[in-house]
């Protein structure tokens, strides 16, 4: 009987934890004043057409939740990859959606795509390095961006 009560208590506590963990929190995130995250600016490296990407990086780097940010743009699309701080990863989807909306609002003439995926971080970091070293033509950049957009749409 004692055992039964014990297991019942454990099950109840576990279920409560799961249920409370699953309830939707709807916080709003605000940027902090100090610049929290470093990013690679590309406009000062002779890539004037990357000004939107630089602006987006500056905008997102002011959020405490963002620990790494990479972005690339062409004349139609802006792709941003962000790394979220470990503790804030519980609200990953919410953050992704919010940042997407913020960027779309800031750059209405561009199609924006925000991803928190590690793959996009790797890919965009590589592209940024190539752009900074000026070893990437516009045609190749567009090709890479098309590939990244396709990867973003992939699901299991």
């Amino acid at each position: 009987m004692k055992r039964y009560k014990q297991s019942l208590t454990i099950i109840t506590l576990l279920s409560l934890t799961i249920i409370l963990g699953c309830t939707k929190q709807d916080p709003t995130y605000e940027p902090t004043e100090q610049q929290a995250t470093d990013y690679t600016p590309l406009t000062n490296k002779g890539q004037a057409h990357q000004s939107e990407a630089d602006e987006a990086k500056q905008l997102l780097s002011r959020y405490d939740e963002v620990s790494e940010v990479h972005a690339i743009n062409n004349d139609k699309t802006l792709i941003v990859a962000i790394k979220i701080e470990q503790g804030d990863r519980f609200s990953l989807d919410h953050l992704e959606k919010e940042f997407q909306e913020k960027l779309q609002h800031s750059f209405p003439h561009l199609k924006t795509a925000v991803s928190t995926d590690q793959k996009m971080l790797f890919e965009l970091k590589e592209l940024e390095n190539k752009l900074a070293n000026d070893t990437l033509s516009n045609k190749t950049l567009n090709k890479h961006m098309k590939k990244i957009k396709k990867l973003m749409k992939e699901e299991t």
């Binding site: 799961i18 939707k24 590690q118 793959k119 790797f122 990867l151 973003m152 992939e154 299991t156």
Partner: protein, 158 residues
């Protein structure tokens, strides 16, 4: 339990008391600790494999799960075949049983054990005998949790 004990004669009750006193206690805390660290190590290897697929191939965090699980199962297959996984399992208990490697071990070890009985009635019939309950209770508990979540999210209006 208590009703059963009442029915026993005093001699048997005395015997049970002695047995309870001398019984080797299960080292629950040590077992949990071992399971935690070995299980965590299995997950660490899984994470390494996953990052490897993301970095070197065209897999995203979403899609890298499939090849990662396949790789872990292949590694377990070899470890089970060479008899290494048994030793790890004996040491770590639930730490090696709960991750997907434990499931793979359950399937593969029963396939090896029953291969002398033929491929259909031996391997085919017995392969999923141990893994069956895992699927049944996995699906069942997932259903219950989903039900609880749905009910509560309806209540909380999210």
């Amino acid at each position: 339990m208590t009703n059963k004990k009442k029915k026993l004669n005093p001699k048997a009750q005395h015997y049970q008391a002695i047995q309870k006193k001398n019984e080797t206690k299960r080292p629950i805390f040590t077992n949990c600790l071992k399971a935690f660290f070995v299980g965590g190590f299995v997950c660490f290897i899984g994470q390494l494999i996953s990052t490897f697929y993301i970095y070197f191939f065209d897999f995203t965090e979403q899609t890298a799960g499939n090849p990662t699980v396949a790789t872990l199962i292949i590694i377990t297959m070899f470890l089970t075949g060479f008899g290494v996984y048994d030793h790890i399992g004996q040491f770590a208990g639930a730490g090696t049983a709960v991750p997907v490697t434990g499931f793979a071990n359950a399937v593969i070890s029963s396939a090896i054990e029953h291969r002398t009985e033929g491929y259909i009635l031996g391997v085919g019939t017995n392969m999923l005998k141990l893994a069956g309950p895992v699927i049944v209770y996995g699906v069942f508990s997932a259903f219950i949790i989903a039900l609880i979540k749905t009910i509560f999210s309806q209540f909380l209006g999210s």
